[in-house]
């Protein structure tokens, strides 16, 4: 596996950080999740679950081991220093400055282990006026511009339903860590990697900032209409909605021919994309009339065969029964000793030679405390000392 042998000390909790370390663990990294004894990651107590196990926690902590250790206790801090000396990667999503106040500022980390890749995931980054603010996905969605453009015209700004700022920040962090490991292979030196909720989400705004920068015009909310392309959107078939997205002139022509609307292509209202944008309602009306005449299944089959991107709007239950999603193994059923079989989403990146796999389910709190400490060179006496000090 690509990250086999990569030792990760994981101080993260909630979502962005654990998602990052899950991506590393899925690629084979040895991720040791350090949790507060008796409490652990708050996500252990969040969301729906069965038999005392949060399935949300289970989904984002697969392939990790749990070491329960009190990092406020001096003995815990000392043990953490020993782990850091041996680690390849440290990942944390505390507020900026918290890790330093725990005794592990950049200088100390470098002194303990100059090869260490240190990754910090935060709301706003580690410099700037908002550095001390608490952060959360929803706030990042609001402050990145995402909410301002998301949603329907005339309606309030709308967040993305999933915590997309968390997910994107976690994914960028994983990318940055692997890039830094690549760099280390050449230089022998670790470095600091930073990912933030706001920066990550800004970078996913795609062409919207370019529109603002080039024209000075603020992109608006316009629901399912595209900013720069028409036609495009949801159309009501006789029984359900279908999403239709002709992305360029060629596909637009295919759509109009397939709908027997080729005569409109010479209509001055629709002669080019700019005209179509200006007369979007009329064009969507003409297309909508045709779509209403047949079922969604008909159009999805017929338009895809004609080379026009088209699909249904699927609810989550339908998504995970979809034959394509099943063929892509995006649903995993993982035996979870003591908790039955837990269903979760699969691996979004497919590697042919070294595929991701679930090597073990999400850990019970502290399940690997002794095992990990022994493996990382703590003697039985060391471990007993940590127990006596109340650190584990």
């Amino acid at each position: 596996m690509p990250l086999r042998g990569t030792k990760v000390v994981d101080l993260t909790r909630i979502l962005a950080g654990p998602f990052c370390t899950m991506l590393l663990a899925d690629m084979g990294a040895d991720v040791v999740k350090i949790e507060t004894p008796g409490r652990g990651d708050p996500v252990r107590r969040q969301g729906a679950g069965r038999e005392g196990l949060s399935w949300y926690f289970a989904a984002f902590n697969r392939n990790k081991r749990s070491l329960a250790m009190d990092l406020r206790a001096p003995a815990g801090k000392q043990a953490l220093a020993r782990l850091i000396e041996q680690a390849d990667v440290l990942v944390e999503n505390f507020r900026p400055g918290v890790l330093a106040r725990m005794g592990f500022d950049d200088d100390r980390l470098k002194e303990l282990n100059p090869r260490l890749v240190v990754c910090a995931i935060s709301g706003f980054g580690s410099t700037g006026p908002y550095v001390d603010r608490p952060a959360f996905d929803f706030i990042a969605q609001a402050m990145s511009g995402f909410m301002a453009v998301n949603g329907a015209e005339g309606q309030p700004p709308m967040r993305a339903a999933p915590p997309i700022a968390d997910m994107v920040a976690g994914l960028y962090a994983a990318f940055g860590i692997v890039a830094a490991l690549n760099s280390r292979a050449a230089t022998g030196m670790g470095q600091r990697v930073e990912s933030s909720l706001v920066n990550g989400l800004i970078s996913t705004l795609a062409y919207l900032p370019a529109e603002l920068f080039a024209t000075g015009r603020e992109p608006r909310r316009h629901g399912n209409d595209h900013t720069v392309v028409a036609p495009y959107g949801l159309f009501r078939a006789s029984d359900a909605s279908v999403a239709i997205a002709p992305s360029n002139e060629e596909i637009y022509e295919r759509l109009m021919k397939a709908l027997d609307l080729a005569h409109l292509m010479a209509d001055p209202r629709f002669i080019d994309n700019a005209s179509r944008m200006a007369n979007r309602d009329a064009l969507h009306g003409a297309i909508g009339e045709r779509i209403a005449m047949q079922s969604a299944a008909h159009w999805i089959s017929y338009l895809n065969a004609a080379g026009v991107p088209c699909g249904p709007v699927l609810g989550l239950a339908e998504v995970f029964e979809d034959p394509q999603v099943r063929a892509q193994e995006m649903v995993l059923d993982i035996p979870h000793p003591g908790h039955g079989t837990v269903r979760m989403t699969g691996f979004p990146v497919k590697l042919s030679a070294t595929p991701c796999q679930v090597r073990h389910p999400a850990p019970d709190l502290g399940a690997h405390t002794q095992e990990v400490l022994s493996e990382w060179g703590f003697s039985d006496d060391d471990i007993a000392g940590l127990q006596k000090a109340g650190a584990i």
Copy 2:
């Protein structure tokens, strides 16, 4: 830089693929963008621009070089084979099967270069019943479940305004490529990396699939309300909306105390998160009354100081003037010879020792055809032959 010396043959166009190769180029990879002579990437002609340059294109193709070559011409195919022999990475976002039909199936690629990491970005992955369907961000949003949960209650399913499926797929691809390069350092062998719009977006649904899987209940659209946490949302201050997101009990208590609503904490309607979810309207009403009494700026300052995540809803123009976003260098002004200075978004991942940088602006079509071919070992005679054959 982490990917310095990594040679990338980039056959991608539009967004997901070029975003992936931009992430690699920003990390120092030598990305050669191969484009159709006379036309190039369709994004060159999309979106707003100035002086003949699409700022959308400029933003997603920085740090790359352009080689204009006709891959349908036999001489172009032969030249591509020579480039592949020397490359570390090949990235493509054709429909599955297209590259093979061009003469470059997996066996041929392996024969040409067993060390090559081949990355394919597609709509649905390379196996399964929908493999031949054309894909597009909007369709992936519809078919991943994202649209079904996104948007307001009682309103139609709503896409994310930015093309989030494209962006996530590109980011996963970049992560997978660097992981595969890491694997290659150990094994000496390349492999195939696949990322898809639908799989990527499914993986960002976070806790929503876990809710479905654990309870059998389909997550619904509920606008800015959180699926499993209350209070949470947009509240109207005296002059503007503020986003408030107390993510756990501790922060909920901070919020209620800060709003002088501590007496409600013992109210049986709000005694725990489940009760608060059941009485969300009443709780949001009580909080809303307080928030309406002061300005947004007051609450943002006051609640953040109290440790409650809180922020304004910023429009894009405000985002890019925001002192935090500026401090994080998320706005770049890049001199673009012949096109003035182009503004674009910055680097979401910050590396301390080997930071991302703009080494050169997005290329004019074919600007580096001769330069790249010479560098990659093509003689003047070879290049003249390609010209004569009409391949470049």
